[in-house]
Symmetry: C2
Subunit: 130 residues, 2 copies
């Protein structure tokens, strides 16, 4: 029980999340290539990307089961399997019964400001619409 409990809990910034969500809405099951691109883009480890997508698929987010075709289309377009053969994680095991379609339509904002030292969020300036 004295095992060190857990890796530093990654806190994605708003920008990172935007990128992740965009990628997720386009393809909830990213292939190796896409994941590597994200790794470079948001500067994190692939394992974090992996975990984030996994959690993302589970219970969060909106699944509009409106147009199954689009979803299946995204699945078919999985990734170009060119340079991916070091871990058969991609097109090998895929859920078969999913006929859902993701549609990111909204987001909840967390309007706190803290540019505190403990958080490294990238401070987005809000247009004075308040």
């Amino acid at each position: 029980m004295a095992t060190n409990h857990r890796q530093n809990c990654t806190k994605f910034t708003e920008d990172q999340l935007k990128i992740l969500i965009k990628a997720f809405s386009q393809k909830p099951y990213p292939g190796y290539t896409i994941k590597q691109k994200l790794v470079l883009e948001i500067t994190t480890e692939e394992s974090r990307i992996y975990v984030w997508f996994q959690n993302g698929r589970v219970s969060h987010r909106v699944w509009k089961s409106s147009e199954p075709e689009e979803y299946l289309e995204a699945r078919r377009d999985q990734d170009h399997p060119e340079e991916r053969n070091q871990s058969g994680e991609d097109a090998s095991v895929m859920p078969t019964s999913s006929r859902s379609h993701i549609l990111i339509t909204a987001r909840r904002k967390n309007p706190y400001t803290d540019i505190d030292s403990r958080i490294k969020s990238p401070n987005l300036v809000l247009k004075s619409k308040i």
Copy 2:
């Protein structure tokens, strides 16, 4: 010890937070009138407003100590003490050394979407700036 442990943990929506933050930035020590206005505006109990401002003053949020004058000005303009005399919480106890000035410049977004049943967030559509 068998007392019911806590009131339902209020979760302010984004819109409510916007209003609260605006009010907070204008006046971190709101008077009775302002608090009542907020009660009506965001439809909650005055005790929640009270607690929120208290927590707000404690450790959250950004205090830019740039222009103390503005902050002091806001303090002077406390509230019109017309109808406020039922709980001496307002202009009575005030910190004296606060020369800070609040400036809401940024906010961290929580870009998750879940229109799940457990959450009642007000789903704000994001302009496709991604």
